[in-house]
Subunit: 307 residues, 2 copies
Amino acid sequence: LNRVLITGARGFIGRHALRPLAERGYEIVAPTSGVASNGDPAVRWVACDLLAAGAAERLIAETQPTHLLHLAWYTEHGRFWNGRENLPWLAASVQLVDAFAAAGGRRAVIAGSCTEYDWSAPQPCCESSTPLRPHTLYGTCKKALFEVASAHAALAGISLAWGRIFLLHGPHEGAARFVPSLVRAMLAGRPAPMTHGLQRRDFLHVADVADAFAALLDSAVTGPVNIGSGEPVRLLDVATHIAHRLDGIPLLHAGALPARPDDPDALYPDVARLRDEVGWAPHFSLADGLDDSIAWWRSQDAAVTGP
Amino acid sequence: LNRVLITGARGFIGRHALRPLAERGYEIVAPTSGVASNGDPAVRWVACDLLAAGAAERLIAETQPTHLLHLAWYTEHGRFWNGRENLPWLAASVQLVDAFAAAGGRRAVIAGSCTEYDWSAPQPCCESSTPLRPHTLYGTCKKALFEVASAHAALAGISLAWGRIFLLHGPHEGAARFVPSLVRAMLAGRPAPMTHGLQRRDFLHVADVADAFAALLDSAVTGPVNIGSGEPVRLLDVATHIAHRLDGIPLLHAGALPARPDDPDALYPDVARLRDEVGWAPHFSLADGLDDSIAWWRSQDAAVTGP
């Protein structure tokens, strides 16, 4: 029996991870602080606020998972970079890893982030050679969890991998983020401002990110693994694709927003570990993925504004 | 008003920190999981197990400290290097720092360790130039707390210093550790085995370590600060001093124990920050400090074995 405890199962990535986990034969247990059932018989929802005192230990004791996929974290757009909420999430995550290992858990995969890397290092970011030097409290806490969980896993004899997420987009993304802000503006016929757009980034559709995490969990690969497409593009190329699809070229205002002072010119992963060791490749091309995101936002905005 | 919350106040270092804090004018609040009073009117003892769920937040809310001196950690000899108990201590420490900052705390000092440094780096260890690369779970957790607390303190506007402890000895030290093991063997007329003893280390009497922490807390110095004498010695020199005092030279068997594989030839601090920025120097010479330790162990063993 493989029973996976997945945290953040109602979140942006987690909601797309349930099917890939079920398809790989996992029995799924999902803590949620919201309503504890969506009628999906493949998932056992458990009412649990991971930040509540003692929650992680009780959750592990009650559910006895063999596998852990820890995606939950504080993600409020704009605030999550440096908000104090990162600290309770770090504390709860440390407790979760400790309880999982102590209860005989075998395999854990935790969501890390490109924010752990030194953004001034040469690109692509490589798991084994690019220095870790976070510029944010979020990245600092993720890196701290990576180092502590890795050291503990080696001692406790559990298998642990750490998936470092780069950029992603798709259904249920925060509306203020890059792709949704452009799509929604153009759908509404409003101007769509952005920065200069020359930054090189790696985008994955969120369903691909979730599938990559399921594949990583189901593999025996340990240590840090970058999660990306391996095909970096300029932000302006992404924006231009969206604008073409929505007849929004006249609405697109590249350079209308200032880039953040610490916004790197290039930030994208070396995906050799994910491709060659995990054996995973994206299902969506960039264009197909963006078209899916556009279709979802169109359906959402149609639902809001009515026919 | 300066009200310091001191954790680990009944511990090896903490018990020596109460007087130096009181002498510097601090009102002292001390959580303890043991008996909550020793009759010392200068200290307000508060019953609290820092590892209990939600304890850190409640403690801060109840005591409203302006200063925090966080010394408590898991320290069981032999087990503390890699025991899982390091993880709940990290989680509780993160929660403590978060709650302290959120409640308007002004100044925090936390106990770090020489185990955070890369032990293969050239000596002495310098706060600004020696790489951090812990070899143990203890060191990994301390380094994680250092990085997270430092990043959060800068954002939250609290003043934070991090005292890195090297070797120490004195009353109430664990009986299995280096100085007590030699002293007690020689007091009992038993053979006193040790490793080759050529390792260079820095020793402070625990009362000096505690006084250095009080001085650091009372300063405006921020960031990592090594806590040491600045006068490294060989372990064999320490052992020989003890043996001379106890007529134990024939009992001393240097080389009788194997050195640990990861035992570095040299590990000692650059103490320029402590000496020049904090303005602190030890009260005990090495010889006087060891004589004090010897006297304390003699009194203990006398109390146990009777007249």
